[in-house]
């Protein structure tokens, strides 16, 4: 899990499509959040409600967060897991869980 957090976070910070959403956020706190993100995506204990997800991303929606950014994050998540040798069917399950949050993340 710790390895996945760092790989995923490095990808997010260097991906020109989405890195600007992460400018100016404290890196240590953001790393903890990435961990919460991955725990959720793996279907682990989830301490976030749909409403929490809306609130957490509301500021980003006003910055223009849309489906293309969401797709990019899901893609980087899949890439991270593939790099770590996670089998494709499991990656599919993780992507499906992430997908289920789309409406809340995008504030629809």
């Amino acid at each position: 899990m710790e390895a996945a957090v760092d790989i995923f976070y490095r990808k997010v910070l260097t991906d020109g499509r989405i890195s600007h959403f992460f400018d100016g956020v404290d890196m240590d706190r953001q790393r903890a959040k990435q961990k919460a993100f991955l725990t959720m995506a793996f279907g682990g204990p989830n301490s976030y409600s749909g409403q929490d997800m809306r609130t957490a991303h509301a500021r980003l929606v006003t910055m223009g967060l849309n489906d293309s950014h969401f797709d990019a994050v899901v893609e980087l998540l899949g890439g991270t897991l593939a790099e770590l040798g996670v089998p494709a069917n499991l990656i599919g399950q993780v992507a499906a869980i992430a997908e289920s949050t789309r409406k809340d993340v995008l504030g629809r």
Binding site: D6, L13, T14, M27
Partner: protein, 308 residues
Amino acid sequence: MPTVRYGAIACERHENESTLDALLRSGAPVSYSCKAGTCGSCMVRVVDGSAPARAQAGLKDSWKARGYVLACVCHAEGDLTLAPVDADTQVAARIVALDALSAEVMRVRLACDSGFDFSAGQYVTLIRPDGLARSYSIASLPGEDLELHIRLLPNGRMSEWVRTAARVGEAVRVLGPNGDCFYTPGRPEQPLLLVGTGTGLAPLYGIARDAVRQGHTGPIHLIHGAVRAEGLYLDETLRALGGVHYKPTLLHADGPVDQVVLGLFPKPAGMRAFLCGDPAIVQTLKKKLFLQGLDLRDIHADAFLPAA
């Protein structure tokens, strides 16, 4: 809206307002400096009510046990009754030496009236007789007097006082120590990368010597960045310092310090980094070192945030 009480004062805390701001709005005599949960000067004691864990983040266990919270990062949902911290929380100290290390940096030595435990590299909050509080990193080693390197910022309130008014023998108070930017034993062979700009050198000077003292065997790289040569205020001392690879770098001659560091260490994975000084430079370096492969948990940083 929750109510906040402090002595005879009672006020409502508005949404999105910190407990500190609510208190200040009502004229409560609470001191403050960073308003970001670092300096500790707005610490108060909870007498009644419950505060979120975030308001105690970074506090010593003994302070948490006393019910201390940082008012600037306290957003309690319920009512709170607060009081000043106990008198022994701040340590009485005297200025025992004032030496100009350069035209811009003053070395201030403080002797504490009672014992003061710290790790090299941590910081304290210096409180002037009139209550003005600012944080400074410790450049000395445990067991020695507190040594601070204070940059004399033109028109800075604490800076001007240090430059013109402070005298040897003067009584001040000290709060702390705080911060987790210090050397820990274990993995003695790990290469250390210490990077600081300006007086960001102060904690690194302590950390480097502490690592040597604790028997660190891996290389210790100390990089000090300044704008011009006059800014390398400890150059002679550092050149003579055994066990440490000292590398001065000048913005005008060598370019930005983050580029210099990545030029020297293009593959920093596996190192342990300590980054101190200018907040923008600390943040940039942290990000670049992380992206080049350094584990975030191996990066210790103190950004010298200005007072709010």
